[in-house]
């Protein structure tokens, strides 16, 4: 009998049979052998089924389940995590995988080693390459918080510096992810979970280009709610995004005490307050990056 996997990919799929085979091969072809993949399909189709069947029939490490009704992106990401944990409860590490990006064969090998070497880290992620329709480009940003002292410093760094879209596809300690609350029903849930995780440990960035991200020009921020939620979006999702995140942090750390002995309830309250203060400051005096992001959103809304 083979050893249980140390790394489980939860793959929330949504209708990309055109590139799914490429993605699956990149996940199943990892040089790190203790890997399994669990697909949760939020838009099942015969085409997706055929691709999955082709691989699942040859590789027992691939599991598949189709949602009977659409869960929305947040629901599906949560379901992917839950399904992966249910199938492989002993797996130490978890990663979300999309159905269209590509993972370098050494991705798991390098990131597992990074997490094994840094017990204080809760997440490891690599540099990435963006795949445009006609060319590819490196993303050279650097963000690593493992050597920062204290949860407050890590939280500050994440507020100001993390690129959530890259880090969210990193390798997580599954237990930390569970404590942080997986994916919350808020706008930009990836950013929220990274904020929560920063209170539990550091983020390690590996200096190799190990993740290839498909860039879709069709992405639109203003269509977030219908994408994230199945059916009508909850009312709280119309509140300012940072207020939603602060409420979740408050509930998780100040009320439920998810930070454990190292980040107690009082500290959780303090971190939530500091997060809100930083958000207010950023709103009043936006950084050039924030200004750029706001412009992009405005232009997208206008074009739509």
């Amino acid at each position: 009998m083979s050893a249980p996997p140390r790394v489980v990919f939860g793959l929330p799929a949504y209708g990309r049979p055109d590139v799914l085979a490429r993605t699956l091969e990149s996940l199943l072809g990892q040089t790190f052998t203790g890997v399994a993949v669990v697909i949760v399909d939020d838009k099942p189709s015969p085409e997706v089924g055929a691709v999955v069947e082709r691989y699942a029939s040859r590789d027992a490490r691939l599991g598949y389940e189709a949602n009977p009704a659409r869960l929305g992106m947040i629901g599906n990401w949560r379901r992917a995590f839950a399904a992966a944990r249910a199938r492989y409860p002993e797996a130490e590490y978890f990663a979300w995988a999309s159905d269209h990006d590509v993972w370098h064969p050494r991705w798991a090998e390098v990131l597992v080693e990074a997490l094994d070497r840094a017990p204080q880290a809760v997440l490891a992620y690599p540099r990435s390459i963006r795949m445009h329709a006609l060319d590819r480009r490196r993303v050279d940003g650097r963000f690593d918080t493992v050597d920062l002292a204290g949860a407050g410093a890590r939280l500050r760094a994440v507020i100001h510096g993390v690129t959530a879209g890259n880090a969210i596809y990193g390798l997580f300690r599954a237990a930390a992810l569970e404590r942080a609350g997986v994916f919350a029903p808020v706008l930009m849930p990836d950013r929220h979970i990274l904020l929560a995780l920063s209170l539990l440990g550091g983020f390690r960035q590996v200096d190799e280009y190990l993740w290839y991200r498909e860039v879709s020009p069709a992405f639109s921020q203003h269509r977030q709610r219908p994408t994230l939620f199945a059916g009508a979006a909850p009312l709280h999702s119309y509140l300012p995004r940072d207020l939603q995140h602060a409420a979740m942090l408050f509930g998780r750390f100040a009320v439920a005490g998810a930070g454990g002995p190292r980040v107690g309830r009082l500290a959780g309250f303090g971190h939530t307050a500091r997060f809100l203060a930083a958000s207010a400051r950023r709103w009043v005096m936006p950084s050039p990056r924030t200004r750029r992001q706001r412009r992009t959103v405005a232009v997208a809304a206008e074009q739509a």
């Binding site: 490429r22 091969e25 990149s26 082709r54 064969p105 690599p126 480009r137 860039v215």
Partner: protein, 378 residues
């Protein structure tokens, strides 16, 4: 405050005898420097002569082996016109004299880079060299830079004390592309008990093999090529790396080539034996442009064989502005057995963080690199 010229400054004028003594001392110094330089040049000349003599010994040994390979191969390989032309140009090397072997880097017609262009480089060449060196050095540092060895007539442009030419830069960029493709780290890491095997098809004059093994010493590097090419690359590598352990494919006993393969640094195999070439492991297959001059059938055979041997990765270099038909013939064949991943080029004019539009090919990008990841079910 400066004293007026007519006021005494207090400094005593040196006497005539003192001036004469200083002059004599200076002359002695200059003479000593001249003698030192002459001694250095003589030592250098002797070292070059000794290296050339050693290279000629190596050449005679390699030539005998290569001739056996050639005789065993017969006319079994389907050569393209470009390959046939190259082999005809290399034919005089079967009967080379010591002087020719002593300046092998300058006389072997295996690259578009010509030594005489470096005697007094044109402004355009100098700019191109400076730019190619600067782009990568500024972006990734010097860890992967290996300068041109002066051995066997090595030549180039000297900057920051380092000798390099366009071949050196092309290989430097290829190493950086391998690193950007996240393929190099596994070969650079020295893990006890793990030795990797790399196969370069073609091998040219041995320049990339030299650079790769300087950066990744714990590999066994296999070169497959026509015997005429092996004659150049094997002599070059064995001379420039005198400690290297070289092995030659023996058609009479193919499996013996791979016995204790970990103890070899370079293995030379005639390309007529590619179909029978079966190392116990294969981690990376390299094409530094050799496949561009092969027929489509042979390119396919090479890629297919790499796949059958278990090579996890294939890495290929083409001119950045290669004809679409050539790209399709080489990279299209790779894509049959490997997932193709073009490596983003390193250039001065390309922004590091993209917008949503595809980039125009930057003018300072001379080569395109492709990393192929093995397909699970090709």
């Amino acid at each position: 405050m400066v004293a007026p010229a007519n006021e005494p400054t207090g400094a005593r004028e040196p006497s005539r005898s003192e001036r004469k003594a200083a002059l004599i001392a200076r002359r002695v110094e200059v003479q000593a420097a001249k003698e030192q330089e002459a001694a250095r040049l003589e030592a250098e000349r002797q070292a070059t002569a000794a290296t050339a003599a050693r290279a000629f010994e190596i050449y005679r040994d390699v030539r005998a082996r290569a001739a056996r390979m050639r005789d065993a191969a017969g006319a079994g390989v389907e050569r393209s016109p470009a390959e046939s032309r190259l082999l005809a140009q290399l034919a005089p090397l079967w009967d080379a004299d010591p002087e020719t072997i002593g300046s092998l880097r300058r006389v072997a017609p295996l690259s578009n880079v010509r030594a005489d262009e470096y005697v007094a480089p044109t402004e355009e060449l100098t700019l191109r060299l400076k730019r190619g060196y600067r782009i990568v050095r500024q972006q990734v540092g010097e860890a992967l830079f290996v300068e041109e060895s002066p051995v066997l007539g090595g030549f180039g442009y000297r900057r920051n004390g380092q000798l390099f030419n366009e071949d050196t830069l092309m290989f430097f960029h290829a190493l950086v592309a391998l690193d950007d493709a996240a393929l190099l780290a596994a070969f650079r890491a020295a893990r006890p008990g793990v030795r990797h095997l790399v196969w370069e098809s073609g091998g040219g004059w041995g320049g990339f093999a030299y650079q790769f093994t300087r950066v990744c010493p714990n590999v066994t590097y296999v070169i497959t090529a026509p015997p005429e090419l092996l004659l150049v690359s094997a002599v070059y590598l064995a001379t420039v790396l005198p400690q290297a352990r070289c092995r030659f494919f023996d058609a009479a006993s193919p499996s013996a080539t791979w016995e204790r393969w970990e103890e070899s640094d370079f293995v030379f195999v005639p390309d007529s034996e590619v179909a029978r070439f079966a190392p116990p492991r294969l981690d990376l297959t390299l094409d530094l442009g050799a496949w561009l001059s092969m027929t489509a059938g042979r390119v396919r055979d090479h890629v297919r064989h790499a796949f059958d041997l278990g090579s996890r990765y294939v890495f290929s270099v083409l001119p950045a502005r290669a004809e679409a038909a050539d790209v399709s013939r080489v990279w299209g064949s790779i894509a049959t057995w490997y997932w193709p991943h073009p490596v983003p080029p390193r250039a001065e004019t390309m922004p590091a963080v993209p917008d949503d539009r595809p980039a125009e090919l930057a003018p300072d990008v001379l080569h395109a690199h492709l990393a192929g990841w093995r397909r699970m079910y090709a």
